[in-house]
Each structure stands twice: as structure tokens, then as C-alpha cells.
Amino acid sequence: MSETNIDIVKQGLEKRYGAEKRFRIYGVCAIAASLIFLAFLFISIGTNAYTAFQQTFIRLSVYFDPEILGDTTNKESLASANFPAVVKQSLLKMFPEVQSRSEKKQLTSLISSGASYYVRDMFIENPALVGETVQVWLPADDDVDMLIKGHVERGVEEGERRLNNNQLGWIEKLEKDGNIEKRFNKIFFTTGDSREPELAGIFGAVSGSFFTMIVTLLFSFPIGVAAAIYLEEFAKKNRWTDIIEVNINNLAAVPSIVFGLLGLAVFLNFFGMPRSAPLVGGLVMTLMTLPVIIIASRAALKSVPPSIREAALGVGASQMQMVFHHVLPLALPGMLTGAIIGMARALGETAPLLMIGMVAFIVDVPSGFTDPATALPVQIFLWADSPERGFLEKTSAAIMVLLTFLIAMNALAVILRKKFEKRW
């Protein structure tokens, strides 16, 4: 009996479904693997980071001793008023048994060297405090912070700890009296960099990144989109446009440090723009993201169906009207996605910033495009390189902040795409 076609088809079916099933399994495995890596990344960074969102504080009864402060009526003398002594005095009062000079020094080192700034600010806000006693929570030193958070073993030998037995004893007493406490670390989100981990914050770097990204967006998006539109819709296809296209594709693959060198040569040396400024950082990032945006925008323009173009031309729209009234709105979601992906890449970039001086220790939070600034990834890099143990968790926390921004930007890309696509 000879086989009919349908028999042959049926025989092959099993094999075909098998192939399909295997492919699905591969797919699920691939996705599972990437999810596992992602989860691993988040968990490992997250577990390191979450403690950075808290900070150990010590409660002191600060007595604004008029004798120590001296004349507080005018600004000049207030600037030189000895607030550190006020803080130290308050701490020493809690432990009257501490008498020797070296012990006093050990005791006062439990409180952050920056605590006096907070007391000073408090006083400047309310000069009537002179002669008064106030209860204040002040940040503890990073060594204390690490100990309280359990990052440092209390059990190891005295010589190997950064805190000696005396200091441990005092900390335990403070703990017993409820005068030491972990609280939400507002400092981390509101200040710039510092060499003291307990005073270091991410806000300076976030602002720097923000200004840099604004400049990048303002330049790279219009220029990129205009270039893409010109190349795709207006330029005659000839050898020159081919050369340009090849070059743009090449640029997209050039290592980012090269753009840093270019920025150094052009913006700093030739135009004489200031070093370490978000403006220059943004311009360098513009150079870097431009090819990405041009390529994405051209792809978006290409994907607009030709029937729409013909329809527009058919009713007598000019080339320009066709592009701006019909093609661009349809291509915009794709362009925005490209722009945001390019920006996200720029947000995570440090190498080009090194060349233009944005890898730097900058304490003051930048307030404009020409103030010296760093960026988020640079801050991560700098903290990761600091010897103090306290910066370890700060590094992870900064990575979390950066990841949050990246996720937010990519989510924005998805939302924008959805929004524009849904219109019709």
C-alpha cells in the first residue's frame, strides 16, 4: 500500500512539534537564566545597599555654652565660633568618668566630625538658643556606624579593631540608655560627596548627572532627529550619503573614551570651556549618543509605511509637510525610544568624563551647567576606590540609585512608546 501525502505529513508532525517544543524550552531557559542573573545582581547589591539608607545617630544634650561660643551677635565671629567644642563638651558631660586627654579624644571621635556643622546650622537658624540646652540626634562616626550595623565584628582582638575596648564600652552604654539609634539616612539623599562616609551623599552626583543629561537631551535629540530626517527623507542617495552612513554606524561603536579625548581637544582646549562642567560633559555625551539616536531615528522613519507618504504627497503635501505632519508623528515613538536608550547609556558612562575632569572630588552640590560636578557612575567609581569601610555600602546604595534611574528611563521609553502608539 502506497503512502498518501497526508500520511507523510503525519509522520513528520511529531518531529516538527518536537522541534517547536525544544525551541520553547531553550527560550524559557534563556529568559530564566537572565532573570536569575538580574535577581542575583539586585539581591547582592540590594543587601549591601539597604543599610546605607540608614545611619547611626547619637542623642546629645547640646548646651550652647556662651563661654565657648563667645560673641554670637555678628556673622564674622559666628563663623569662627567653636561649635566642635560645644559638641565635644556635650558628649564629655555624658561620661564624667572620662578624664585623661587621650580618653577624651577617643570618646569625642565617636561622633562624626561633621556633627558640629549641623549644630552650627541649627544655631544660625535660631540664635536665641544661646545658653539653652537642646536634645539633638547627631550623626555618629562611620566606625561607630559600621559597628552598630554589624559590618565590623565586636569579637576580634582590640588591636585589629578601629574602635578600642573603651570606645566599645561607651557605645554599649549609649545603646543601653537608648541614646544611639539607626535612623533614615536623609544625609545620603541631600548632600554632596564627603570624605567622611557618614556625611557623604548622592545628591551632588545626581544633580551633576541631571544637568549633564539635560544638555545631552537638548542637543542630541534635535540634532540627531534632524540629521536622521535629512539623511532619510531629503538627501539624495549617493556615494556621499553612503560614506556618511558608514561613518555614523562606525561612530556608534567607537569606545566612549575616544569621545572624551575629542571633548578635551575641542570643547576644553579649543573653545576654552570650563573643566569638570556638566555642560561639557553633556556635549561629550551628545557626541556619544548622536549616532545611536540617528540610527534609531532612521530605522523609525524607514518603518513608516510608504502608503502614508504617498497619501500625503497625493493630496499635494510638500516633502516637508509630508515628513512633519505624517511621517514624524508615526516615527516619534521609535525615535524617543532610541533617544532614551542612548541617554541611558550616557547616564552610566564614566570613561569620557575622566578626560574632561568630571572624575573629581566635589563637595558642593552643583546648581548650574558650568559649576564643577561629577556624575552618578563617577561617584560610584570614586567611592568604590575609597579605603573607608563605610563607603562599601554607600557604593552599593549609589549603584541602586543609578539602577533606579536607568529603570525609570527605560520604563519611560516604554510608556512613551505605548502612549504615542495608542493614539490611533
Binding site: E196, R275, S386
Partner: protein, 358 residues
């Protein structure tokens, strides 16, 4: 039509910013910078930043901006010229080279103040979990050089045959040689090569003789570190080395003393020639692997950039670089009293450095 509006809006915004920017940058180039700009060594960075922060919070000036560019990169920027677009101070983890001084001179940076700030020890660290091992610089040279003197005693080099420490010296443990260290771009590596490898190599009389006779050969023997896996380049990040040592007790790591200081509960310093790297041992010069740290000041800027004098004063104050100063808390090894005094005087008088002295 919406597309057009967005596009036009962005275009206008870009044009405006560009206008504002060109205007601004001109304004900046013309007017004086109101903060101090510091560049240079990543080894000095942790100390300079502490001073800068202290200065910024108390002196009433803006906080200086400190870039970590490496010593060589910093010198290049520093010697670029006089004017607000050039940095005011360069940090260095070694003395300025004569060639650098001459480059400065050529670019109009004629008057330079040199300030030594203290010392930094280079430490061969290991995990606390391992038992301490006493080592000499000669042994380190034999363990890490790419080519070592022929073990039989002939005056020639062979590719490094040593696999374990015991191979070098029978009294050392039979552990595999495994040293994590910085890459050639790092200042710590430069210092290590100079302070350990050159000295260790010079223990062999014929190599020492080469230093005079054939400098290139001497350098190629002493400066070339093996690449067969015994020496692992761990990147510029000293923290990473510390973490890796914790995970691998049989390995050693090369890094700055401040990292040992901050991680004393996890890492121990290996004694070199019997001297444990401690604060005191480095300070009084007993521990041999240490180097001086410097910064260089462009004198032409001292009266132009606000706060320069005050910053120098802060740096050269006892409360900063003194025995109990805050820099020592960060791991800087202070200079002896008389050396401090002499440099502090230099700061006051803005003593001029002449290239001939280098």
C-alpha cells in the same frame, strides 16, 4: 502637527542653551575661578580631599575641586600653563621629574612651590586567616620578576621558574605564589617596582653593577613583572584587592597602607625584612617600603584664586598633617617633626622650586 511642535520646541531650546553656553563659557574664561582646582595622584587624593572638605566647611571659601588623574596626568595638566583654565595644585605620589619641571617652565609655569605632606607605606597584605610569613625584598623580587638570575649562580637571567614560596626559600611555606597587585598605570605599582623590585634585584651584585653599566638591561630585569599568572593585575581599585584577599587566604595583595589601616580586622600586613608595616614603623622609617607624597603649587595663582593661601595653611597645619592630625586618621604617615617644620616654613615663604634640584 504635534511632532512639528515638539521638534521646533527642542530646536529652540537647543539654540537657546547653546547661546547661553557660549555666552557663559566666555564669561567664565574671562572672570576668575572662585574655587581651587587640584589634580593629580590617586594616592594623595584621599588626603587632599579631606583637607579640601575641612577647608570648604570652615574657611568660608568654596570647597576645592580635586580630580584624581594620576601623578603623570596631573603634572601634564598642571604644567599646561598659567591661567584660570589650568589647575592650581598638582598632587604627586613621587617627586616631580626634571622633565616635568622643564615642561612647566616652557609653558610659563615658572614659580612652583613643592610641599611634602607625609609618607605612604606600600603593604604586602594577606588575609587574617593565613599565618604571617616573613619575607625580604630579594625574595619578593625572585617571586615576581619575569626573569630571575639563573638559580645555579651564573650571571644571566632565565624565565622565572619559581612556583611556590618554598622554591625560593626553604623556610617559606609551600604555598603557590599568588600576588594581586595594581596595573602598570598605577602609582602604587611604580612605587612598588622602585622600592621593592629594584632594591631586591640589586641584592645580586652583578645586577647592581648593571645599574651603572647598562641601565636599560637593569630596568628590563627589575621592572618586568611576570605574566604567567603568579602576579594578578587586579585593577586600580585597592578595595577590590582587599576583598579578594579575604576570599583567598593563600594570596597576597599589594596596596597602600591606608587600606590596611581601614581593614585591620580582615587583613594583616606581611613583615618585610622583619618589620611589620605599622603606623609607627613607617613613620620612623623602619619599614622600608614607603614613599613620600607631595603636592606642587602654582605660585602665580596664589593671589588670584581665592582661598589658596588658606588652603595651604590648612594643609600644613598640625591639626591636619601633625602626629595626631586628621590626615593620620585617614592613613597618612606624618613626617618627622623637623621635616614638618621645614616644609611648613616653605609654605609660609612660598619657597621656589628650581628644576636643577630635581
Amino acid at each position: 502637527m504635534k511632532g512639528k511642535k515638539i521638534f521646533a520646541g527642542l530646536g529652540v531650546a537647543a539654540a537657546l542653551t547653546f547661546g547661553a553656553i557660549t555666552f557663559n563659557s566666555n564669561a567664565i574664561a574671562d572672570s576668575a575661578r572662585d574655587y581651587i582646582s587640584v589634580v593629580g595622584s590617586s594616592t594623595v587624593y584621599p588626603f587632599a580631599t579631606v583637607v579640601a572638605e575641612q577647608f570648604g566647611k570652615t574657611a568660608g571659601f568654596k570647597t576645592p575641586k580635586i580630580e584624581s588623574t594620576g601623578t603623570g596626568g596631573g603634572m601634564k595638566l598642571f604644567c599646561g600653563g598659567v591661567g584660570v583654565q589650568h589647575p592650581d595644585i598638582a598632587n604627586a605620589s613621587r617627586r616631580m621629574k626634571k622633565s616635568e619641571c622643564e615642561m612647566c617652565d616652557k609653558n610659563g609655569v615658572k614659580d612652583i612651590l613643592e610641599v611634602k605632606i607625609g609618607y605612604d607605606g606600600i603593604v604586602l597584605g594577606a588575609s587574617k586567616k593565613s599565618s604571617a610569613m616573613n619575607i625580604t625584598r630579594k625574595e619578593l623580587f625572585l617571586a615576581l620578576a619575569a626573569n630571575v638570575p639563573e638559580p645555579g649562580g651564573a650571571e644571566s637571567v632565565v624565565p622565572n621558574p619559581y612556583k611556590t614560596w618554598k622554591d625560593i626559600n626553604p623556610s617559606l611555606p609551600a604555598n603557590k605564589i599568588e600576588v594581586l597587585g595594581p596595573p602598570p598605570t598605577s602609582g602604587t605599582r611604580d612605587a612598588f617596582v622602585e622600592l621593592v623590585m629594584e632594591v631586591g634585584g640589586s641584592e645580586f651584585a652583578w645586577i647592581k653593577a648593571l645599574e651603572k653599566a647598562d641601565k636599560d638591561k637593569f630596568k628590563s630585569i627589575c621592572h618586568t613583572i611576570r605574566e604567567d599568572g603568579a602576579y594578578i593585575e587586579a585593577g586600580e581599585n585597592d578595595n577590590l584587592i582587599v576583598q579578594k584577599l579575604d576570599a583567598n587566604p593563600s594570596a597576597f595583595g599589594i596596596f597602600g597602607f591606608s587600606f590596611l589601616d581601614q581593614n585591620g580586622d580582615k587583613i594583616q600586613g606581611t613583615p618585610v625584612e622583619g618589620v611589620v608595616p605599622t603606623f609607627e614603623a613607617i613613620a620612623d622609617g623602619k619599614y622600608s617600603v614607603s614613599r613620600p607624597l607631595y603636592f606642587y603649587v602654582k605660585k602665580a595663582h596664589v593671589d588670584v584664586i581665592p582661598g589658596m593661601k588658606e588652603y595651604l595653611k590648612e594643609f600644613a597645619s598640625e591639626k591636619a598633617w601633625g602626629e595626631d592630625g586628621y590626615l593620620s586618621e585617614k592613613g597618612l604617615i606624618p613626617m618627622p617633626d623637623d621635616e614638618r617644620k621645614s616644609f611648613s616654613k616653605d609654605v609660609q615663604t612660598l619657597k621656589n622650586l628650581s628644576c636643577g634640584d630635581l
